[in-house]
């Protein structure tokens, strides 16, 4: 059973297009995240949602819009794709990250989506 799944695994598209990446977790977690890993393998958080509510929104261009239809899903929509958006995007989930130290729990990562913008 896949705990955190992402689709698609690979995405190749032209500049200016709009694309979406889907993420689903079957762990019953309340918190979900999107991370971007650049070509140098540096991982940086983009967003986190807790039970469909936006919690963390790092300085990400507003072309990126996360959407959480329910707490098991967190999709990432990207408008007007640019060359610099090429990266691997990881979804992750964890227990509620707001309820204190005992909830500083493991984040479970999906397999990643490699986005290539031509």
């Amino acid at each position: 059973d896949t705990a955190v799944s992402q689709t698609p695994k690979y995405l190749v598209t032209q500049m200016g297009n709009d694309k979406s990446i889907k993420c689903e977790q079957n762990l019953g977690h309340d918190t979900m995240y999107w991370y971007k890993q650049d070509s140098k393998k540096f991982l940086k958080i983009m967003f986190s949602y807790n039970n469909k509510e936006l919690i963390i929104n790092e300085t990400v261009p507003n072309r990126f819009s996360p959407k959480s239809p329910d707490k098991a899903h967190l999709n990432l929509h990207i408008n007007s794709l640019e060359l610099g958006d090429s990266a691997v995007y990881f979804c992750a989930s964890s227990q509620d990250m707001r309820t204190g130290i005992s909830s500083t729990d493991t984040q479970y990562f999906g397999p990643g989506t490699r986005l290539t913008v031509l």
Partner: protein, 116 residues
């Protein structure tokens, strides 16, 4: 602000030799420390974590790490590596952000290459 420094971007080591991957952090608040491993073309997997208690933490696949508060370090060690340990290793700190939730900040990773 919290930051994580992984001092070595690449570490080559012969099979069955010991290895230490170094991690230092800076923080003005209490932090919780993690090591994740990323095998080629895969997502990240937790190796071990330190939240409190014993400063020596044991993880999966024979790895361990020691939290040293005075040196603000959390180095990862394994006494004898295998070819299958070849991967990218990420140190991370979790801290309570201004948004009221715990947030992970990652180091830039260390690529461990095990040589047969």
């Amino acid at each position: 602000a919290q930051s994580v420094t992984q001092l070595d971007s690449q570490v080559p080591v012969f099979e069955e030799a010991p290895v230490e991957l170094r991690c230092n952090y800076s923080s003005s608040v209490s932090v919780y420390l993690f090591w994740y491993v990323q095998y080629p073309n895969q997502g990240l997997q937790l190796l071990l974590k330190y939240l409190s208690g014993s400063t020596l933490v044991k993880g999966i696949n024979g790895f361990e790490a020691e939290f040293n508060k005075s040196q603000t370090s959390f180095h990862l060690r394994k006494p004898s590596v295998h070819i299958s340990d070849t991967a990218e290793y990420f140190c991370a700190v979790s801290y309570l952000s201004g948004a009221g939730s715990y947030q992970l900040t990652f180091g830039k990773g260390t690529k461990l290459s095990v040589i047969p």
